[in-house]
Symmetry: C2
Subunit: 406 residues, 2 copies
């Protein structure tokens, strides 16, 4: 019997704890696992031997279910890139030493492409140095949905559901006055527009909002944008716009970069502002109608009361699959989702090599963006729709959602 | 038999439609009411005779329940202040003429203190001109919770629940990294800090966030603020701060006013930014740790998936009570809540004169703010807690909340 270790890394999501829960589920069920430990703050917690005994804390199903529904990263996270082992093998040796000392035979790391770089390097190092008593596996996580080899990523569905819902609410709010108005909603995504695209899921037969969608995969032209807004205002009074925080102009620079970043005011205070505020200024100046901007900000990745049941279940299963695969002897791979069909929605979980995942960003295919660059195609809506389906009934305590706190 | 008319005015809230629903409930139940009409876009809809027949649309309980759970203002709203009738009686005459033409004997107007000014003026005008065939009543509404004569306001409890929940989620997100960080959350409220105070409801035994709370009722001192943050960082790694958008300095000016409002950049674009961004810059400059700001923005008033059951039920009852009171012959009053007890929570609905409500803003009593000005007292927590209790099960369609759309 050996121990299993799980840790998480990179930015939080509403589903990362579900993946951890899947690992604990698998560890508790397997006769080959004595304990499931959690390392605090990712690989840093491994290096510092900062562990908690998760199978003890989460022995009851109730506790595990609560963990699975708690947003962000209960074990904490880190942004720590392992060095090239050829230049500096010290960290690798230290990790292996800590794992062996704690009789850890299986290490599951959940995160995005940076985290998969860690899993990749570590598993390669073990392979090259004949370390075959430790199996290292990745489980995917990122609201950005930009990991390769998998149909989509845990955490994305819940973030997409939050965004779509926010647009329906903002629409309710925006349609209240009978004067022309423009609302610009800025959505996370520096290089991939998946989250911004999910705003389209707010559209119903009765209300088609947002009317305009701009992803960061397509060059953003300010003049064209203003013309789009003017055209939209000719048809409707209240225009709602979804825009990726990372839209770039023809020269590849972030739109309004000089203005948004780091200008100092009279007092020497630095000013950081997003694309939403920038476009708000532009519309105000060039069109002159009522205009406001909304930044969904961190809420889109930590809204635990707006979970996609599909997402949470898949996330948990992906964690369990990575753990079970490790016990079966696999190493240096990541559990992935393969979409079998849309009607009915059906996915299969399998494993993929990390070489095509580490440090790679999967962006929205340009053929899924309309030619005008101000909307997405039906194919993309078809891809997105199943991912936000189903709700999770969350427990409340004293009027607020109850969370798992270590 | 006469008809009843209902309209709503002022900013949206998540509970205003529940109040409208209460009016429809009462109208459908009363044998003295033929039809319940809704005027679109508030008093403007009355002036333009822009009506919909609500009792037809909302005959089924299912439809009414859906309306009650839909955020914002299904009938639309307006910001329209009636002139002093002594100077210009034209609008008043027009309104009375439209009401009589449509055989409307009861007019219920729901809104905040501006809207109650409309109800007050209109009912006074009727009284002074012997118009006794039209009864005019107000029903309260405002997320700001700043109406006089009532213990609290419909819409506030749901907004407070959203804010408290957002803080629990932001805490989950913020505690992920083991580096010192400051998160500043800007909350609506120019002159009243009730919403900001409700951030305190996020506190649990396991996690006391936000650690600092600044209401606009108390002078905001930048130096003191920076010292507070430094002190807090000595005790904990991750500091979360709630601040009213309307905090003012000792001279009564909005904090950072010159910087936030209307500065022009090199391209002539105007820049509007809030207190959160301003304080983010201040902390970054004077403390230098990781810092970010979050603006909850319109989501705090239109989040229909985060409704307080207490709030929605009270809002509906207040609408019904105003309607029933009108049928019983009352006019020129507003339905209000009187708190009988906290344990168990119990309120009574009654009527109040509009003279103490119209154009008056009820702020947080200073004795409910700590002496240091960076937190609220237990008394205020006690006042707030019952208002966010209970949840509303909302219907979903295709992965997003289903809303009532006219």
């Amino acid at each position: 019997m050996k121990n299993m270790l799980v840790a998480q890394s990179g930015g939080p999501s509403a589903a990362i704890n579900a993946t951890i829960t899947g690992v604990i589920d698998a560890g508790l069920e397997s006769e080959e696992i004595r304990h499931v430990y959690g390392a605090l703050n990712g690989i840093k917690g491994v290096l510092n031997e900062n562990f908690v005994m998760l199978d003890e804390i989460c022995r009851s199903k109730e506790k595990r279910d609560l963990l699975a529904m708690t947003p962000a990263a209960a074990l904490g996270s880190c942004r720590w890139k392992l060095k090239d082992p050829k230049e500096n093998a010290e960290e690798f040796e230290k990790i292996i030493q800590v794992l062996r000392k704690n009789e850890i035979g299986y290490f599951i790391y959940t995160g995005g492409n940076d985290s998969m770089d860690t899993v990749y390097k570590l598993s390669q190092y073990c392979k090259e140095h004949g370390v075959d008593d430790i199996k290292i596996m990745g489980a995917p996580k990122t609201i950005d949905n930009d990991l390769g080899e998998t149909d989509h990523c845990p955490g994305f569905g819940s973030a997409a559901k939050f965004i779509a819902t926010a647009f329906t609410e903002i629409a309710c709010d925006s349609f209240v006055y009978d004067v022309p108005s423009v609302t610009i909603v800025e959505i996370m995504g520096r290089n991939a527009g998946w989250l911004t695209a999910s705003a389209a899921l707010a559209r119903t037969e009765k209300r088609r909002v947002p009317q305009l969608i701009y992803l960061c995969e397509k060059t953003f032209d300010e003049e064209r944008f203003i013309q789009d807004v003017k055209d939209a205002l000719k048809k409707e009074n209240n225009i709602i716009i979804a825009v990726s925080e990372g839209v770039k102009d023809a020269s590849g620079k972030y739109v309004g970069e000089e203005i948004k970043s780091g200008k100092e005011d009279a007092f020497g205070h630095k000013y950081l502002s997003g694309i939403g505020k920038y476009l708000e200024g532009l519309v105000g100046e060039q069109i002159g109608c009522k205009v406001r901007s909304v930044e969904l900000n961190v809420l889109q990745r930590c809204a635990g009361y707006m979970l996609s049941r599909t997402d949470i279940m898949e996330s948990r299963n992906l964690g369990a699959y990575a753990a079970i695969s490790a016990i079966r002897g696999e190493s240096g791979k990541m559990s992935v989702l393969e979409r079998i069909s849309n009607h009915p929605y059906h996915v299969k979980i399998s494993l993929a090599d990390l070489s095509g995942i580490a440090n790679y960003e999967k962006t929205v295919p340009v053929e899924w963006i309309t030619e005008e660059g101000n909307d997405i195609t039906d194919e993309l809506v078809e891809y997105l729709t199943p991912l936000i389906q189903g709700e999770v009934e969350i427990p409340y305590e004293n009027g607020i959602p109850k969370h798992f706190v270590l």
